[in-house]
């Protein structure tokens, strides 16, 4: 019995020793893991500090910063999940926790600094660069805010799991106060960062172009009607086509003006796409069909009257035809470019995805038809030049 008792005591002592060793090992592992997180936080801080928001590589650096932040968040989550009851909190662990919380405040400050840089950059940058910077700031704020929360949650969990709160009470209280204060500072700083970024948002609805699109559709329709009403005759062919060429050029300038407005807007703001404006864009491209039909009519008429037309009248007429073809082609291109420009500026592609694809497909169809008519007209004109040796 005595022997058994001694053995039992020995076993107990061995078990206690093993558990103590395990606890110390776990403790060492926790503080080592926290130290690694601190080291990663310092690296991220330096990385952010050396990031220039106006530099060409800014987007790649911000993507990398986002990745580094996520690695830290995942690291905190891994430590948090590995926490088990019976933790013996020591000063080293609390020091590392405090440092982690302090580093998070530094990261929030770096993000704030970048948002101030973005504010300065926005005076010279275009809307695309500002939009990227703005998204990056919001993403970074989200990452650093998440990190701050996870640090607080991990500290709370360590407290819940610890066995020696009474012994370490004063030191724990200092740590908890610091963590709480730092969390508030971080979130406050991040709120300023987000507010700075959101102030840079400049957005408009693409329906603000509806009046311009309506005007183009109406004027294009009138031009097509005027072109169709011209009955070409061999005696006035040159003046008739010269007048049409001037009309087409005037209309091309109107299309270019709308295109120019959208292009300028693209440097200042982003757009919310609406179904209404997308429908009007489709109609604007469809308007080209009227011009193509008139152009096809001219080709047929020219074929009929060319034999009765003198070379001196035919030559400038054919020049005008080439001019009209080139200008209608330029018009078709500008109209398609407007849709592309609006798409590139759009904030809500997802919401209008189906309508965007329908619009783009319809516009491509209209422009392709126009280009076919233009090629047909150019081919006919060149053939006439050869035929009449002009």
């Amino acid at each position: 019995m005595k022997t058994f008792s001694s053995r039992s005591i020995f076993q107990s002592a061995l078990l206690f020793g093993a558990l103590m060793l395990q606890s110390v090992a776990a403790q060492a592992s926790l503080s080592t893991d926290l130290q690694a997180l601190n080291s990663q936080s310092v690296t991220l801080k330096s990385y952010l500090a050396s990031t220039d928001i106006a530099a060409n590589d800014a987007c790649a650096r911000l993507v990398e910063a986002d990745r580094l932040a996520r690695v830290i968040i995942d690291g905190i989550a891994a430590i948090d999940q590995g926490l088990t009851p019976g933790i013996l909190v020591d000063t080293t662990t609390l020091n590392e926790l405090d440092a982690l919380s302090g580093n998070n405040v530094s990261l929030a400050n770096e993000a704030l600094g970048l948002s101030t840089e973005l504010d300065t950059f926005s005076t010279t940058a275009d809307a695309f660069a500002i939009k990227d910077g703005l998204t990056a700031m919001l993403q970074l704020s989200d990452d650093i805010g998440t990190m701050a929360d996870r640090i607080g949650e991990m500290a709370d969990k360590i407290l819940v799991m610890s066995d020696n709160i009474g012994l370490m009470a004063d030191r724990i209280l200092v740590s908890q106060q610091l963590q709480s204060q730092n969390l508030q500072t971080s979130t406050n700083t991040l709120l300023t960062t987000q507010s700075n970024a959101l102030q840079l948002v400049a957005v408009a609805e693409d329906s603000s172009y509806n009046v311009s699109f309506d005007s183009l559709i109406a004027n294009g329709g009138l031009l097509a009607a005027r072109m169709s009403s011209v009955v070409l005759n061999p005696f006035t062919l040159n003046t008739q086509l010269a007048t049409v060429a001037t009309d087409v050029r005037t209309f091309l300038d109107q299309v270019k003006a709308v295109n120019g407005t959208i292009e300028v807007d693209g440097t200042n703001l982003t757009l919310i796409q609406t179904a209404d404006a997308l429908t009007k864009l489709t109609s604007t491209a469809a308007m080209l069909n009227g011009l193509s039909t008139a152009l096809n009519g001219y080709v047929v008429a020219l074929g009929g009257i060319q034999a009765m037309t003198t070379s001196t009248k035919l030559k400038p007429s054919l020049k005008s035809m080439l001019q009209i073809s080139a200008d209608i082609g330029g018009m078709a291109n500008r109209i398609l470019e407007m849709a592309d420009q609006i798409l590139a500026m759009a904030d809500n592609i997802g919401m209008q995805a189906d309508q965007i694809l329908v619009t783009q497909t319809a516009m491509n169809g209209s422009v392709a038809t126009t280009q076919f008519s233009i090629l047909n007209a150019q081919t006919a004109v060149i053939s006439l030049i050869v035929l009449r040796n002009l």
Partner: protein
């Protein structure tokens, strides 16, 4: 008479010289453009997605294409009023058109690669690349248009269409065929990009948020209606702890759904969602305040309470503070996640800032209450030797 003849000959010679000089310049300009576009083609060929520099590479390429388009515009503006077309010029125009098509096809291929990025990149990474890709597509389309317009303008200005007719027609047909293919490639690129841009209205979260708010309010109401005593403190706090754990689970579940959605979709912010998020932070602050009151009650009752009961109660208190802290943080994070990729951020920016300010104020109140509750609890543990 002799003077007149001499003058006429001199003017003819000067015009011939000018025409020849302008013509030589156009030929050289067109060849220069071919060299530049060939370099752009090499640049786009070297781009790989995914890569750590994808968005920088795409932007750099876009800058090259924009400056190339400006050069095309300059050459177009400098076309003289009379041009004598040569086979070399037409070959340059053909090459430009073919290279533009190759660039558009490469862009379309890159957009296909971008779709594969979905699984390996963060949402921010591929959205940045997507935005750059849409710009690139727009600018390649403009570049192709300007090349075609330049070809048309050269045709209008040329004086020898008759003698070069067959060759010109070949060029015009090639240009026309290529522009159709370019537009088709651009449409594929845009379709690929639009397919990546799925969006979700946050209205879908409102039901869960409303339920969460009502459950949190119910717990807050329960906590406000109960005073702790030496005998009920452990059991009551355990009950609250169970309810709080369920709330944390609901909050985490909604958070996980939102986080998962954020990796695939952008959000269209519904105003009611922001209101609910703000309201939820108010209720959380009330919960934390009730917890602080409990901590004070436990502190007062501690000397009169059984050590086992007190130990259970303080453990529950620490778990409750941790859980309410988690909830409070998650609610703020949810708003952060929604706004990162919001479709209507511009329209909602004032409401977002307003909601975040409400949340920030409540976070401070919550944190102060939780810190106070923890401090008192830790002091009880210390003073009572638990």
């Amino acid at each position: 008479m002799l003077f007149a003849l001499f003058r006429s000959a001199a003017i003819s010679l000067a015009l011939l010289f000018m025409s020849s000089s302008a013509f030589a310049s156009l030929t050289t300009d067109l060849q220069g453009l071919v060299t530049q576009l060939a370099a752009i083609r090499t640049q786009i060929d070297a781009i790989q997605i995914p890569s750590t520099t994808a968005c920088v590479d795409l932007k750099s390429l876009d800058t090259s294409i924009k400056s190339f388009t400006l050069n095309v515009n300059q050459v177009t503006a400098a076309i003289p009023s009379t041009v004598t077309l040569t086979t070399t010029d037409l070959t340059s125009l053909d090459n430009l058109s073919t290279l533009a098509l190759a660039t558009a096809t490469d862009a379309s291929y890159l957009s296909g690669q971008l779709r594969n990025l979905d699984d390996v990149a963060t949402v921010f990474e591929y959205r940045t690349a997507m935005s750059a890709m849409l710009r690139l597509s727009d600018d390649i389309g403009t570049m192709a248009d300007r090349i075609l317009e330049m070809a048309d303008r050269i045709l209008v200005m040329s004086t020898n269409i008759g003698t070069m007719a067959d060759r010109i027609l070949l060029t015009q047909r090639l240009q026309n065929q290529n522009i159709a293919l370019i537009q088709s490639a651009m449409l594929t690129t845009q379709t690929n990009m639009v397919a990546l841009s799925a969006s979700l209205s946050t209205i879908g979260y409102n039901l869960s948020l409303g339920q969460l708010q009502s459950d949190t309010e119910a717990l807050s109401f329960q906590m406000g209606g109960i005073s702790l005593t030496s005998s009920n403190m452990a059991s009551q706090l355990y009950l609250f702890e169970t309810s709080a754990a369920l709330l944390v689970a609901s909050t985490n579940s909604l958070y996980a759904l939102l986080e998962q959605n954020s990796t695939n979709l952008s959000h269209y912010i519904n105003g009611d969602t922001l209101t609910l998020m703000g309201d939820l932070s108010v209720v959380n602050s009330a919960l934390a305040s009730a917890l602080d009151t409990y901590a004070q009650q436990i502190n007062t009752l501690a000397p009169l309470t059984n050590t086992v009961v007190l130990s259970d109660a303080t453990s529950s208190m620490l778990r409750l503070t941790a859980d309410i802290g988690v909830m409070s943080g998650r609610i703020m994070e949810m708003v952060d996640k929604i706004i990162v990729m919001a479709d209507n951020i511009g329209v909602m920016s004032d409401r977002i800032v307003e909601t975040e300010q409400i949340q920030q104020t409540n976070l401070v109140l919550t944190q102060n209450s939780l810190l106070s509750a923890q401090s008192v609890t830790i002091n009880v543990i210390k003073n009572m030797g638990l």
